[in-house]
Symmetry: C2
Subunit: 333 residues, 2 copies
């Protein structure tokens, strides 16, 4: 793939995370669904922030986390997402650029602030997210560099992009450009409630437009409106060319028309914060895919990257993932 | 002290920290003195940020950290400091308020941004700081609520306040108000280079206006322009009523006219980041002081609070310090 400018072009909601420690009582008080991502408006964001304990701020955003993970694995990537023209937008731009990801989307000119996600980490290491989309709703098809998409081996899209309407259009046009150029389209289903909001559209996407699907068990079950994981696997098989489905501590399952492969999770001594686990699994898997590894190896790489991210607070790698992989599997690049 | 509205009123530079992992080569490249705090201007802040890896943002500021530590020990405190009218200023206000500290200083109306401190944490857990003062230079005597100062048992001042000229005036007026009301003045010397910049003024302060002095060994040696710690101790003895001098892993020494007491450091398994160690020592010591403990117990409390802060990234407590103290010494309040 030496002729492609980037291995992966990622498009997503550009978000700064506000990480706070919380207990179940606070979740109850806020009335939010544990483990899920709930969208909130500007007024709710103010009201909820008032109720949260002191936090720390770090760059997040699902596809952005994946791109940072890919870069930490030595994979060339570019990111498209909309920040506000403000301090948190500059923080987001700094962090993703310094992570080694190409990022040139201009900041919103409309005065909308950079998106924030309140990430409530409970003592069981689960995260519950409340997202104020802010400037993300200003992402439009004009922000997508179609030459770049056409020159990238994989275009990676997060399902969350279906929440802001213009971003959804940008998503669809990018997928179309990728396919016209003979490139692949990867999709992360993002969140079970997000799948609920867009089920028919996502099912159409997965069945007709997606080459590599990432989802966790509950997202896949939501896609097919079933509580039966095997039934959901049966339905997705042969639809997306590859479906890589994560199951938390139980590892992941990679489904293609020809095979179903299960891979165990990487061992983690202390799970601190599961924020970004799915994003980093996707990074590891895509890195393996782009570098020509087989699916089981790619799934193992996904597990290694996810294992690093859940061992600390925050959704961007703290260690060199390439070194971690080197220690466990030998050189990747 | 039931008649005082607050046990401690703290005044300091209100700063958001940008924490990054760095190696010695990066410090060399930036030309900064390891372990010290260097002041930088707006242009340098931009230029240096460009050279730093991705970071995380969290509220900092020396006296603000101390106040957050006091609150975590169950001691009532108020803080005075100047943030900008911007996102990071709102983050700072949220965090210190939610830590349990009274904070009502209005944001700067002049458009100056909230101060930032780039905290470069090296693998040896040392921190090297580069501070852009931003809105801190807008702190003026008018920001100090003299009724509150007069009603607080201790007014705690950070030496860093001597860098912005108007803040220095605010500092001196607050100290004067405290003494006129029969209250105590505590000072942290902040940084050896800060002492270099203001040595004569600080020596005059310590000898004539300070009741409780906090310093580490190098700051005290800088104050008396000597490399001989015992000589520095001899000089400070009987000047400040109490001098509590920290020596890193060697614990601390409390010096009064009558006695010199050495206390060992609290045991810490893994020192991760020494940012805030001095600030939290001051919090523990002042908590003991305000709650009527003897000096050796107060020094032990300082060591416990410092031990918590150096066991993780960031300069604000992650655990309930009151619970930590309860486990080690029994109930404090």
């Amino acid at each position: 793939m030496a002729d492609t400018r980037f291995h992966v072009a990622g498009i997503g909601n550009a978000i700064v995370d506000v990480l706070v420690h919380a207990d179940d009582a606070l979740l109850d008080q806020l009335g939010v669904a544990k483990g899920a991502m709930t969208l909130i408006g500007a007024d709710d964001a103010e009201r909820i922030y008032e109720k949260l304990p002191p936090g720390i701020e770090c760059s997040g955003g699902s596809a952005a986390n994946t791109m940072a993970g890919l870069a930490a694995l030595g994979v060339r990537g570019a990111y498209v997402g909309k920040v506000g023209d403000d301090q948190l937008g500059r923080v987001f731009r700094h962090d993703i650029t310094k992570a080694g990801v190409h990022f040139e989307t201009p900041a919103s000119a409309d005065g909308a602030p950079t998106a924030r996600c309140f990430v409530l980490v409970t003592p069981d290491a689960q995260r519950t997210m409340l997202t104020y989309l802010g400037a993300c709703v200003e992402l439009t098809p004009a922000d997508v560099d179609h030459e770049m998409i056409a020159a990238s081996a994989v275009t990676y899209l997060e399902g969350y992009l279906y929440d802001p309407p213009e971003a959804k259009r940008a998503f669809l046009e990018a997928a179309d450009t990728a396919h016209r150029a003979g490139r692949l389209v990867a999709l992360s289903l993002s969140d079970a409630f997000c799948v609920d909001r867009h089920r028919d559209a996502f099912r159409d996407l997965v069945h007709h437009h997606v080459d590599i699907l990432f989802a966790n068990q509950s997202e896949l079950e939501s896609l097919y409106n079933t509580r039966d994981f095997d039934e959901a696997l049966r339905q997705v098989r042969g639809q997306a060319t590859i479906a890589a489905i994560t199951r938390g501590a139980r590892g992941s399952v990679v489904v293609t028309e020809d095979e179903v492969v299960s891979v165990g999770a990487d061992h983690v001594d202390h799970v601190i914060d599961t924020t970004g686990a799915g994003d980093l699994y996707a990074a590891g898997f895509l890195a393996g895919y782009c570098l020509g590894r087989d699916h089981p190896t790619s799934a193992i790489l996904g597990g290694i990257a996810a294992g690093e991210i859940i061992s600390h607070i925050g959704a961007r790698p703290e260690k060199s993932l390439a070194d971690l992989v080197q220690d466990k599997l030998g050189s990747l690049t």
